[in-house]
């Protein structure tokens, strides 16, 4: 259930140390941090917008643009790298016709790479929303999208 910005903020005390959790909460509800939400957070925590942006842009987790309904995070950890993660990213980029950090035109997919998903023993891996896919080969890319296109059927 999606909460409104007001509802999210009302569950916090307005202390400056809450900045990161507030931003995380907003992002998990809306998928990204809009300009409007940054302005509201700055009022709520009584700090300049520049400071809110300063913190938000520092951390890799925060996004300022909407993501796709299926957000793909390809792991770029060391184990994944030596087992071909960059080829996987390029393969997905070609398959979706977008670059890393972009969203497909129909807002279905967005793609980014992350430092390490901690699933190194089964490298290379990627996360599609909350599901980790492991031991991905170039051959699996097409299959991966066929599978995730119809999640309701799988469930």
């Amino acid at each position: 259930m999606e909460k409104t910005l007001e509802e999210i903020l009302s569950s916090y005390n307005g202390e400056k140390s809450e900045l990161i959790p507030v931003l995380q909460d907003i992002q998990s509800n809306f998928g990204y941090l809009s300009e409007e939400s940054i302005i509201e957070v700055s009022k709520f925590l009584n700090m300049p917008e520049s400071e809110v942006y300063g913190v938000a842009t520092f951390y890799a987790q925060f996004r300022f643009d909407p993501i796709g309904r299926k957000h793909i995070m390809v792991c770029k950890g060391t184990a994944c790298h030596v087992l071909g993660a960059s080829q996987i990213i390029e393969g997905i980029e070609r398959h979706l016709g977008i670059n890393e950090g972009e969203v497909t035109f129909d807002l279905e997919y967005s793609l980014e790479s992350v430092g390490c998903l901690g699933c190194c023993a089964l490298a290379p891996c990627a996360m599609i929303n909350d599901n980790v896919e492991s031991k991905i080969g170039l051959k699996d890319i097409k299959k991966m999208f066929r599978k995730s296109k119809s999640p309701n059927k799988d469930n």
Binding site: F62, R94, G115, C116, G118, C120, L138
Partner: protein, 633 residues
């Protein structure tokens, strides 16, 4: 309820689980297990049980460490040892349930081994597997056997008895025990735990804090994730003990957001601790007040550094500051703060449950105890292992790891993440302990071991690490922010075949400057991947610079794919799958690759494994343009 009663009840519940009439089926569902398909097995097993009108208990457990054979299930039948099964597909799961539960055929062909009393013909003991035999499981002792979501399972296995023991002692007596155990911080630097805690005790202040560093940003390491997902209470118990000893009233667990399951299990575990009265006011009638809160990291590698982590909890950009003052004097909100790694806290719980001697009987003189490592990369048996400190790299990679993937040739092992170094064959008999690794030119780090074989290009690996560091630099100090960028640009040129002979000297000069001038350890150690590879693999740099070739056939600008005409049977598999339509040819006729279109994605070589007709070759020394020119003439 007092602790004895809680323990008694927990033991009864736990024992009855393993002694029950109906079978018990364990499913390893940590993140790794789930990604390999464990979560999908549960409904399938339930369905099979229903179809045959069978009763059995299904229990989700954590990861036992042998991730390379995941998903793993374990079946316990009354009066028989439990059987571990690996590489379980839905089909095999159904087969096992039907054969073993109905017909009493344990299907040895799918079994990994047995645990517990008794023997089953055709199946050896699980812990006699070559991957497990040399291991000593102390920290990971519960992983894969208990339900991480059930506090009673932990308590039934002596959990929280270490904390109850601690409450009977004075903080200084516990410090003595830690000193006796020889425990050094498991986060990487290996600072004696007792000393860090003593510094905090000695700092006078009205408020003190404790922080559990579960940021685990090192790419290639997942020990913390696995432990938090498989046995969260062992870490929480250590934190409780730490609070009691240091006098902290509040603790924070700083856990990265990339670990959703670990966070979920931690949150669940905290609720249970509260229910049992292990958190809050006057814990166990001792007058000790303590609380633990979770802070989610937001994706910054530098936040693994103590002072940056503190800034992040305070709601600021995670930039490190100069030390001293050290956090034990002035940490979170200026108050004395102890920061320890996940595994350090779990070790403290073990020491207080068992004894300092039980911990110190393993390891070397200066590095006591056991340590968990993630063993990954181009090695056969990937996963999480625990060995006494002082075990050699050879034992870890070849005995436990089973050697190199596809029987390839060992090239190097990266240890200690981006701050560490690569060690070659020459160092294979180095004991893994804090000091020997430093002498060899690497560091322990948090314990990620990434094994590399001949298919890894060391210049590419250096570029990879530097790219990571450059991206993760907090930007506060110039040498790290701009220096690593320059080094990365130079490495980029080298891997693209545009390197010059003087680049090596320039890299060395920059490396020294960054080492000297950086503020924190991330910056100070950032040139390590370049320095260690330059030191050990100078010939690879030379090949890239002088001959413009990549001997390991990795660097894209220096390789090309080619179809061997004699071998190609014209099956059209590569042609149909080429993402850029660079392959042409008729059915049953040899194909060719148009080099000007090829993006070197490697799909063709991957698909042609049967005919073996696609080869990856070094580009000739001359530029392609020259070849084209001669072709035109």
């Amino acid at each position: 309820m007092n602790f004895n009663k809680i323990t008694q009840k927990a033991k009864e519940e736990y024992n009855s689980l393993y002694e029950r009439e109906d079978p018990l089926i364990l499913i390893g569902s940590a993140t790794c297990g789930n990604s390999a398909g464990a979560s999908a097995l549960i409904p399938i097993i339930e369905e099979t049980l229903e179809d045959h009108d069978l009763k059995a208990e299904i229990m989700e457990v954590g990861c036992i460490g042998i991730c390379y054979v995941e998903p793993i299930i374990t079946v316990f039948k009354k009066g028989k040892p439990g059987i571990f099964y690996g590489n379980i597909t839905p089909k095999i799961a159904t087969k096992i349930v039907e054969s073993y539960l109905i017909n009493d055929d344990p299907l040895p062909e799918h079994a990994l081994g047995t645990v517990g009393k008794g023997e089953i013909q055709g199946i050896n003991s699980f812990f006699d597997m070559p991957v497990l035999k040399p291991q000593v499981r102390k920290i990971l002792r519960h992983c894969g056997f208990i339900d991480p979501k059930n506090i009673d399972h932990y308590i039934a296995n002596e959990g929280y008895s270490g904390f109850i023991n601690a409450l009977k002692l004075k903080p200084e007596e516990i410090i003595e025990k830690l000193k006796e155990s020889g425990l050094r911080g498991r986060g990487g630097a290996g600072f004696p735990t007792w000393m860090k805690w003593q510094f905090c005790i000695d700092s006078e202040a009205d408020t003190k804090y404790l922080i559990c560093n579960a940021d685990e940003g090192d790419p290639g390491a997942f020990m913390n994730r696995s432990l938090l997902e498989s046995d969260p209470h062992s870490v929480l118990e250590g934190i409780l003990i730490g609070g009691y000893v240091t006098g902290a009233k509040n603790a924070y667990i700083y856990c990265r957001a990339e670990y959703p399951l670990a966070l979920e299990r931690l949150k669940h575990a905290l609720v249970q601790m509260r229910e049992y009265g292990f958190l809050g006011k006057n814990i166990n009638n001792s007058g000790f007040n303590f609380d633990i809160e979770i802070k989610e990291g937001a994706g910054a590698f530098v936040c693994g550094e103590e002072t940056a982590l503190i800034a992040s909890i305070e709601g600021k950009r995670g930039t490190p500051r100069t030390r001293p003052p050290f956090p034990t004097t002035s940490g979170l909100w200026g108050k004395p703060t102890v920061i320890n790694n996940v595994e350090t806290f779990a070790s403290v719980a073990f020491i207080m449950q068992e004894s300092p001697g039980k911990f110190a009987e393993y390891g070397t003189d200066a590095s006591k105890g056991t340590k968990t490592f993630s063993l990954v990369g181009q090695v056969k048996n990937t996963g999480l292992i625990e060995v006494p400190l002082g075990t050699t790299l050879r034992e870890v990679i070849f005995d436990i790891g089973g050697g190199i993937l596809d029987d390839g040739e060992f090239k190097a092992v990266q240890i200690g993440g981006p701050s560490g170094g690569c060690l070659t064959e020459e160092f294979i008999d180095t004991p893994i302990d804090y000091d020997s690794l430093v002498t060899a030119g690497a560091i322990m780090g948090s314990g990620g071991l990434v094994v590399m074989d001949q298919s890894t290009c060391m210049v590419d690996v250096a570029q990879y690490f530097l790219g990571f560091i450059q991206k993760e630099s907090c930007g506060k100090c110039v040498p790290c922010r701009l220096g690593t960028k320059q080094m990365l640009d130079i490495l980029g040129d080298i891997t693209e075949g545009k390197g010059h002979i003087e680049d090596i000297a320039l890299l060395m000069e920059l490396a020294e400057g960054i080492k000297e001038g950086s503020l924190c350890a991330l910056g100070g150690t950032s040139p390590n991947p370049v320095l260690t590879t330059l030191n050990l693999f100078k010939d690879e740099y030379d090949a890239h610079i002088n001959e413009k070739i990549c001997p390991s056939l990795v660097c894209k600008n220096l390789i090309s794919y080619n179809i061997i005409q004699d071998k190609c049977n014209g099956c059209m598999l590569c042609l149909k799958s080429c993402p850029v339509n660079a392959i042409s040819g008729e059915k049953k006729e040899p194909h060719t690759i148009d080099q000007s279109k090829c993006v070197k994605c490697g799909t063709c070589i991957d698909l042609c494994s049967k005919a073996d007709a696609v080869e990856c070759i070094s580009k000739p020394k001359e530029d392609n343009e020259d070849n084209n020119a001669s072709a035109i003439i």
